[in-house]
């Protein structure tokens, strides 16, 4: 008995000593993003944000610990591909974290795997409200549409009486619409009409005409950023809605910083609520934007996608530090659940221990021309800590 204990003790001591002595412990992180196809620009931004963090923050790792990002291409919103890639990352490459995820369906398909294999999954961009519920090992540093649309609705009802909503007809659009309507009507506003616009839509004019005829005070719009958002704003201007006194507002997704420059002057004056703007004056943000441009070129603006990647890597690094490089999935989740940072480019960010979802600051912004370029200028801070309203509201029932 005593001999076994001694042997056991000696073995443990040797193990402890060797773990301290073992230098170059490499933590493998599986990074699933989109590198090909129409949405490659978004995946590319995610990649750039993550790699910038890794490059600049090697001092934040415990001594002797290195991080290896293993990147794989999901080729777009292809959940079957994402699942297969995740399987390979877990089984072949033996990753200890899974991160990335531009798309909600991809994250949803991988979530059961993270539960089965007990691999912590930190989503950088995927925003579907129910994602964190799909696996106890799921944490998120991105955002939800409710976090921006709901406060926007509440704010808008203090300034305008009648609203019309026009969203692209797909799941994120539905979420944005529901969130805005809830917020707007809660504070006493009236919704005079709602329309859902097909995703593959060449012409927004008939919808704008209908909106004009309904005579609202404000139009809440949601489209995927880029050509859709621009085309809708153009139709809005072309049909004389500004002259008719209808204000254009939306979530920050319609004026993302990286696409803003291609949107031309139709975007000026649009008011949005979002958790991040590249034009923000916070020192942490200025440093981030400067570093991003230094690394990737003056012409490239980071957007919320790059910030999602940056913050997720920060959270992962905090988990690595807390465990001194020896990753245990359950301990990781404990650390992640209590993650907080006051110095993110977006301001203060944290993870909600109850839901494992992100707690975002939300800002009211307006698109203005600053120094000849378009920028989302932050007008006021709506709140420094918005938990996902969808989960909050559904909890109370």
């Amino acid at each position: 008995m005593t001999t076994t204990k001694t042997v056991g003790g000696v073995l443990a001591a040797i193990a402890a000593a060797s773990s301290l002595a073992a230098s170059a412990e490499t933590i493998k992180i599986g990074f699933i993003s989109t590198y090909s196809g129409p949405a490659a620009a978004q995946g590319d931004q995610l990649d750039k944000g993550a790699k910038l963090y890794v490059k600049l923050n090697s001092d934040k790792l415990p001594p002797g610990v290195k991080v290896e990002l293993i990147t794989r291409d999901d080729t777009g919103p292809n959940p079957d591909v994402a699942k297969r890639i995740a399987q390979e990352l877990i089984v072949r490459d033996k990753v200890q974290f899974l991160t990335g995820f531009v798309w909600t369906p991809n994250a949803a398909a991988v979530a059961p795997l993270s539960a089965e294999a007990k691999v912590p999954l930190v989503s950088m961009n995927a925003a579907g409200v129910n994602l964190p519920n799909m696996s106890p090992y799921f944490a998120r540093l991105s955002f939800t549409l409710w976090q921006s649309a709901y406060p926007l609705g509440r704010w808008a009802a203090t300034k305008y009486k009648r609203a019309f909503t026009a969203v692209t007809d797909f799941a994120p659009g539905h979420e944005a619409e529901e969130a805005f309507i809830k917020g707007f009507t809660e504070v006493g506003g009236t919704i005079v009409g709602s329309v859902r616009i097909p995703l593959a839509n060449p012409d927004f004019v008939p919808y704008m005409q209908r909106i004009k005829d309904a005579k609202p005070d404000v139009l809440f719009a949601f489209n995927p950023a880029g050509k859709q958002a621009t085309a809708m704003m153009k139709a809005y201007a072309d049909l004389g809605l500004p002259k008719a006194g209808i204000k254009y507002i939306g979530t920050g997704d319609i004026v993302t910083d990286d696409q803003l420059q291609t949107m031309s002057d139709v975007a000026v004056g649009v008011i949005t609520v979002h958790h991040y703007s590249a034009a923000a004056n916070r020192p942490a943000n200025k440093a981030f934007v400067a570093a991003y441009k230094k690394e990737y070129g003056e012409d490239l603006e980071p957007g919320f996608i790059a910030v999602g990647a940056w913050d997720a890597m920060d959270a992962i690094y905090s988990a690595i530090r807390a465990q001194h490089g020896k990753i245990d999935p359950d301990k990781t989740m404990e650390v992640l659940k209590h993650y907080k940072s006051a110095n993110s480019p977006r301001g203060p960010v944290a993870i909600d221990p109850e839901t494992r979802d992100v707690i975002n600051p939300e800002y009211l912004r307006e698109v203005r021309k600053v120094g000849g370029k378009l920028a989302n200028v932050e007008l006021e801070t709506i709140s420094t800590a918005v938990k996902d309203p969808y989960k909050e509201l559904n909890k109370k029932q």
Binding site: P38, A39, A40, A41, D169, V195, R196, I197, P198, L199, A200, N201, P202, D203, V205, P206, Y207, Q209, R210, D213, G226, K227, T230, A231, K234, D238, L239, G240, Q259, T262, M263, S264
Partner: protein
């Protein structure tokens, strides 16, 4: 009633603008398919190319707008001649499947090339000042650019119809569409005719793409996204006909706009449902020749 008339006018106007752009882009496809029997699914590539020529000329080189439009027509037309001589002509007798596959391959290549050269974001269209803003017609305000689109397209269409109805070239085209073997036997050089007509059709597509750049955004996935609409105009209108696609394009433009205005929940379904219905009723298209 006033409101109804007013919205009806707006729907008609905007539907017409959209329909005209569709027509200018698709008429080339109708003629080449009817003339050469060649299933060219890459037609959207020519429209996209015209759009890129226009936006690059306007943004990068500050070319005046009318010249940029002309460039879109000319550059795309010229490039299409090269493509026709070296690639398309090999497949004239190959049958439908190889033609479909070949043109799909071209689309893949064009989409990837566009993304590599121009990036995935849409191209901004800096219109000249005299075409922006609103004009007042009969008491209502209409966007100036769309008025221009309608007027200019009408001009192009008139010129085209005149050309096909009144010129020798037009007569040769009509003869070859009706009966290629006979046309060849009376001495019409069908090879040269194909080349010229293909160049004209593609140039028109480029012009249409440039003209419509403000309405149908120019970005790399353009040929895929709008392929269905161009094919619908041609198949519903009838291959080889000029008037058929015109009616079809207007029907689609106005019908799509009207449906989205009055029945927005069916917005996406209208075009496809109407196409299926029309094609089942008239498989050769509304004005098609072959049964």
């Amino acid at each position: 009633m006033e409101a109804l008339l007013s919205s009806a006018a707006s729907v008609a106007f905007h539907g017409a603008a959209y329909g005209m752009v569709l027509y200018v882009i698709s008429v080339g496809l109708s003629v080449t398919m009817g003339l050469m029997g060649f299933a060219n699914l890459a037609h959207g590539v020519f429209a996209m190319a015209g759009g890129y020529v226009l936006t690059t000329a306007l943004s990068r080189f500050g070319v005046p707008f009318p010249l940029a439009l002309l460039l879109a027509f000319g550059v795309v037309g010229a490039a299409s001649i090269v493509l026709e001589r070296f690639l398309y002509s090999r497949l004239y007798t190959a049958g439908e499947l190889p033609q479909v596959l070949f043109t799909i391959g071209l689309v893949f290549m064009a989409v990837a090339a566009a993304r590599l050269v121009f990036g995935s974001l849409q191209q901004p269209v800096p219109l000249p000042d005299y075409l922006t803003g609103q004009v007042s017609v009969l008491g209502r305000d209409f966007p100036a650019y769309r008025v221009f689109v309608i007027a200019f397209s009408a001009g192009i269409i008139a010129a085209l119809w005149f050309g096909v109805e009144r010129t020798l070239w037009g007569a040769m085209v009509r003869a070859t569409v009706d009966n290629r073997a006979m046309a060849q036997s009376i001495g019409i050089d069908t090879r040269r005719l194909f080349m010229l007509t293909f160049a004209l059709g593609s140039g028109l597509a480029g012009l249409g793409g440039a003209l419509g750049a403000d309405i149908i955004a120019i970005e790399p996935t353009y040929p895929f996204e709008h392929l269905a609409y161009f094919l619908i105009v041609v198949s519903v209108g009838g291959l080889g006909s000029l008037r058929g696609p015109f009616v079809a394009a207007l029907l689609i433009g106005v019908g799509d706009t009207a449906c989205k205005y009055w029945l927005p929940q069916f917005g996406a379904f209208f075009v496809y449902a109407a196409t299926i219905a029309l094609l089942l009723w008239r498989p050769a298209g509304l004005f098609g020749r072959r049964a």
